[in-house]
Amino acid sequence: MAKSASSRKAPAKAAAGDENFALRSLQDAFEADRRYAASDEELLHFYEQMVLIRRFEEKAGQLYGLGLIGGFCHLYIGQEAVAVGLQSALAPGKDSVITGYRDHGHMLAYGIDPKVIMAELTGRDAGISRGKGGSMHMFSTEHKFYGGHGIVGAQVPLGAGLAFAHKYNEDGGVCMAYFGDGAANQGQVYEAFNMAALWQLPVVFVVENNGYAMGTAVTRGSAETHFYRRGTAFRIPGMSVNGMDVLEVRAAANVALDYVRAGNGPVLMELQTYRYRGHSMSDPAKYRTREEVQEMREKHDPIDAAKAELAARGVAEDKLKEIDKRIRAQVAESADFAENSPEPEMHDLYTDVLVESY
């Protein structure tokens, strides 16, 4: 009998013609020049960052075994090239980063002090979240690192929201929102894709496909295992990238960021990578063979590859040894700091619940 007056308006403008939509345009650009032409200095820097993440995570694993770290602890070992390669293309203090609970590597790659990260893992007052967040909940607003989120997939709309703020404030920033192949099956990811594309938000969605959603291999959990294609329904261009090669990752990041910074809206990148350790420290890893892990470690390791490339370029081995030594000392220092820092004061139990007093 009655209907809304507004429903009589002309139908929404038809979607833009398909000639304007090139899902593979970025992939084609990337494949034309697949590896970033890093200087020796840059490659050395990437190497150093990856080694820092590796040694840091190994130490975290040890401290967990000693009972100094509790709860869940998800290590990034094997995936180092992803965070290092992608974030090397970002502008710290301008671009924002958000990820899930496997977050230590992304923080280290963004230049956050390993001491305060390790002290958070041990639940100390000096930790970056003052001991109240733990491994999965770490943040540094100073670095525009927005966590550190424990609910699988939640960081994807949150990242779109950070991108919304970049656009609203016209600050030129881009948000890089990481999630795993497991999170890629959460419905909210696609809700975020839709709005990010609809509103052309400056966000790079990054699927770190490490092959396993906890213990479920991608082929057992995903009907479409080519995750970079999953933005197609929202007209988001996808990129498929070897996440075990830091220079390839960086080259892809440049292509994606150029596109996003030009105001074209989001990009979906899939980084094929691998985690050597279990899903968390308590994972018996019965869902895959030791041979599979060994194969990845021996033939596809991102740090070994970078090291080999530096050697081939004629960078002196002493230089690498010196880096290794420095990193070991830095990580040992962060572990000492984390072990010897005091726990939070009891009154901190009640602080930071609300910002204001009412």
Partner: protein, 449 residues
Amino acid sequence: MGIELKMPALSPTMEEGTLAKWLVKVGDEVKSGDILAEIETDKATMEFEAVDEGVIGAILVPEGTEGVKVGTVIATIGGEGEAAAPAPAAAPAPVAEAAPSVAAERPAASPRKADPEVPAGTNMKTSTVREALRDAMAEEMRRDPRVFVMGEEVAQYQGAYKVTQGLLDEFGPKRVIDTPITEYGFAGIGTGAAMGGLRPVVEFMTFNFAMQAIDHIINSAAKTNYMSGGQMRCPVVFRGPNGAASRVGAQHSQNYGPWYANVPGLVVIAPYDASDAKGLLKAAIRSEDPVVFLENELIYGRSFELPELDDHVLPIGKARIMREGRDVTIVSYSIGVGLALEAAEVLAGEGIDAEVLDLRTLRPLDREAVLTSLAKTNRLVVAEEGWPQCSIASEIMAICMEDGFDHLDAPVLRVCDEDVPLPYAANLEKAALIDAGRIAAAVRKVCYH
């Protein structure tokens, strides 16, 4: 014989409307589907279509008439092949019986206690809760460019319940943003935008739909400040209608006050009248904390006094005595406050002087105000439009037990909705919801009357 065209009910809560415009005149031939008139309801301007064919015989309510009751004969149509019937006398049509909860919720005539937060002598104007909420958002948007509104139908449609009416025109599409129907997604985007330094006001068409998004409200918005050791704030407001509406069935009728009030890290506000709606929404938007702001559809259209202040901001976390009394305290919030005031009027006639305390904020809860009133009256009843188990009522009773035991002259009683999903049938719905009669009965019981 001609066909009478009656003022249609075009929304679940519509009791009357404005006949904005006639699109036909006497003598016009109309057929099924033709648009006869535009009618402005409490929610939107709607087109009124012909169902029957014939010739317009008479137009009985001229365009521009406001407050036309549902069921009033507004025009007549002569049947096919029939001469237009002579216009019948414009007898007042039987007014459809208003929804029970609405009828029971009319403001009581008793003098209300003035809000001590409003300076004495302030000029008052009449405003609906709907307008008060809209004005609160508009004022805060003028004041702070970081404030924006997002939600389903908030912009072009002017709000599913017209709460955001006019905001798009004033602030444009950058700051008044229509979202797709995707609560989980846009609650996450709003939360992320708050983390990124903006001041989002996220409207849920109703809080029933916010269950799709509750993970972001609780896990992302409420906990981040704590988990980050105070580094990462999330100054977002989630707002929309909450509680039972009218005849919309179980999935659209629920009070989420107790759900959100359970969560440390959230501020939860549930105002009753226009002054509190405006003053507390402005405070919510300014707050550095995430706020769940629970409105009530049945009160949107109700008019109250609203202070004419340049910047009417009320304190969060403070209850308000709506009616002073000596014998018993009735604690309530949101729509229950109107019912409690009505019960207090009935009780006054019986010699029972009831104090009515409006909690206004459900978290942080104003324990002090509850206990102070209890210490004065020594008897207490909680009236809550919501389920009884693990409710705000349960919490108030626990507070009275823990810290007010020595002041109690009778057990605290609660009056809540029946412990069932809300039924559709009018008689069952009425039976399931609290009303003034039940509140008065509970008060008599604690007063041993």
